[in-house]
């Protein structure tokens, strides 16, 4: 199908605009809400009324009364998600390398286990963990979230990486060895550069998933010690008993959305290939 005709171009322009509106409108919606003053929130308008747009909501959560609540949640979220991602990617890289490269019985068992783990309803795991964590003192700690986050990030990391690694031409390693490189040199020079993009992509996807978690976040934490951003948003209360925290929640939502959207923008090509190769070709 050649799309060179003017009519085709107009049609594509319309379709593109529709898709852009569909994908981005809710984001703009919360962005607009985050700039509204408390009195403007009930105006029933999409944008802040002219001249009243304010950054006070951002001030409230970054330097104001809600600062402690939001910034500690942000620190917890970043720290816990990064550590969980790191552990999952390291373990998954070793595992996926073995699956793609070595011949050993039980590969199928490992991949099936990963699939089974990823279909577990999180809420089914959280009940016993809640009880256990309270007994052994992991409740409301970073480690108490990092461990269950592995159940979210490990399976998809293994599947995605195994799919990536299967596409690597492993003969290159042997070729390098024939050319006189040691085993380690051959691996590092020939394989690592090919594998690195897959590992990196997997890390981004795993980070998304950990960053998105809500059930573990609200169930296994109770204070600022470990409560993550999604959980903090849900338990956020306004400046006073009588003020609903709509503006502050919207501002917080925008702040935690920006880094993720930037990651998506920067690495969209890799993310797409990672998601689809893990799921479809796996």
């Amino acid at each position: 199908m050649t799309n060179t005709s003017t009519k085709g171009k107009v049609l594509w322009a319309i379709v593109s605009v529709l898709v852009l509106v569909y994908a981005l409108f809710p984001v703009f919606s919360i962005l607009a809400t985050s700039f509204k003053t408390p009195s403007d929130l009930t105006s029933g308008k999409f944008l802040p009324s002219s001249g009243t747009a304010t950054t006070s909501n951002y001030e409230q959560i970054l330097v104001g009364d809600a600062q402690g609540l939001f910034l500690s949640a942000l620190r917890n979220s970043v720290g816990i998600a990064l550590i969980a991602t790191f552990i999952a990617v390291v373990l998954a890289t070793l595992c996926a390398y073995a699956i793609a490269r070595l011949d050993f019985p039980g590969k199928k068992v490992i991949l099936t286990t990963a699939l089974a783990v990823s279909i577990f309803p999180v809420i089914s795991i959280v009940t016993p963990l809640f009880n256990l964590w309270r007994t052994i003192g992991l409740y409301d700690t970073w480690l108490g979230l990092i461990i269950p986050y592995l159940s979210l990030t490990l399976p998809i990391s293994i599947w995605t990486l195994a799919a990536f690694f299967r596409q690597i031409p492993w003969e290159l390693e042997q070729a390098a060895q024939v050319d006189g490189a040691t085993t380690w040199q051959a691996f590092r020079k020939a394989i690592v550069p090919l594998a690195a993009p897959g590992v990196f992509t997997t890390a981004i996807i795993a980070f998304f998933i950990a960053w998105n978690d809500f059930v573990y976040g609200i169930s296994l934490t109770s204070t600022e010690a470990a409560r993550t951003v999604p959980a903090a948003l849900a338990f956020f209360t306004g400046a006073s008993q009588f003020e609903s925290p709509t503006g502050a929640i919207s501002a917080a939502a925008i702040i935690v959305t920006i880094p993720v959207v930037l990651l998506v923008l920067l690495f969209q090509r890799q993310i797409v290939s990672g998601l689809t190769s893990g799921a479809v070709k796996g």
């Binding site: 595992c95 073995a98 039980g106 783990v117 089914s124 795991i125």
Partner: protein
């Protein structure tokens, strides 16, 4: 050490092969084992614990009253209409969202697949944005848009019969479910359309060209050539999404917290164990929810197999 030698001597005669195979086997499990063990520890162990706990009358607030009661918790749940209403709501949400997402996701995948080179990149990026948004954030975005106080939807759509400025979307089951499902669909359609895009890319162009030459309409090309050729991608997308939708929690928690007939199974389990500290009952709900998910998988795999065999037989 053996391992390195084993690899280096890979080209040795057959006699050595078993040694090499054994070394490779050991290395394989050494590398893959940790991940495998961690997965078992963080999921299998808690699930077994849940099965065990579900056989007890056990409240965290009254630990001394803990007593073995067999399957009584299950009897309590399965005879309580609350369970069945939550199950019905969950199944309803799952079916509606998956169907809508499949249609919408397919349309978006077609757009991305056929788009002009110049707009393909931006379109794909835009479609990925909802995937990157935290579910809780998306839930708040939709909630505030429809909320009777802070929302603009009532204002904008007051011309639609049934919508006026006094419509409180979150005070009745039907409208609340509508918003819950809309936000779920918005947030997760990108995932399904990416899988379908990958499926579309695997359909050979010659087949559609040939169909076109034979005078097939666009719809006939889709129905007879494109869709049958991407059946695997469609099945994978539907299965993953159905399992995910069945576990829906975040949106409901934020928007209604289960009020007005919007309670879903995950929320029921959460309320029993985390809010009410009824560990016994909550565990039983968790186990039942897990059994439901297994059933979905089982049915899907059965259907999938039948389908695969059928399409192979047909050719």
């Amino acid at each position: 050490m053996d391992v390195g030698k084993g690899n280096g001597n890979g080209k040795k005669p057959r006699k050595q092969y078993s040694d090499r195979a054994r070394a490779e086997r050991r290395l394989g499990w050494m590398l893959a084992g940790p991940a495998f063990l961690v997965m078992l520890a963080v999921t299998l162990y808690p699930i077994l614990q849940a099965v065990y706990d579900s056989l007890f009358q056990f409240r965290l607030t009254a630990p001394e009253e803990r007593a073995f009661i067999g399957v009584e918790n299950y009897a309590v749940i399965l005879t309580d209409p609350v369970w069945w209403i939550a199950l019905r709501t969950t199944v309803f949400i799952t079916v509606v969202t998956v169907v809508v997402e499949l249609v919408l996701g397919f349309a978006l995948a077609l757009v991305m697949h056929k788009a002009l080179k110049s707009v393909r990149g931006p379109l794909r990026t835009a479609i990925l944005v909802p995937y990157g948004i935290i579910t809780v954030v998306s839930a708040f975005a939709w909630f505030y848009a429809f909320d009777i106080n802070s929302g603009y939807v009532n204002n904008w759509f007051s011309w639609v019969p049934g919508i006026d400025e006094n419509l409180n979307w979150f005070a009745q089951g039907g409208t609340a479910l509508f918003v819950i499902m809309a936000s779920e669909i918005w947030k997760t359609t990108p995932f399904i359309s990416l899988l379908l895009l990958a499926g579309l890319a695997q359909v050979p162009d010659e087949l559609t060209e040939a169909a076109k030459v034979d005078g097939a309409t666009w719809w006939e090309q889709m129905r007879k050539v494109v869709i049958p050729n991407m059946k695997a991608a469609i099945m994978v997308a539907v299965l993953f999404r159905a399992l995910d939708a069945f576990r829906i929690f975040d949106n409901v928690f934020i928007m209604t917290n289960g009020a007005y007939g919007t309670e879903v199974l995950s929320l029921l389990a959460y309320r029993q164990s985390i809010s009410r500290l009824e560990i016994g009952l909550g565990s039983a709900v968790s186990v039942l929810l897990f059994v439901c998910v297994l059933l979905i998988c089982f049915v899907a795999i059965k259907l999938f197999k039948v389908d695969l065999a059928g399409s192979q037989g047909g050719k």
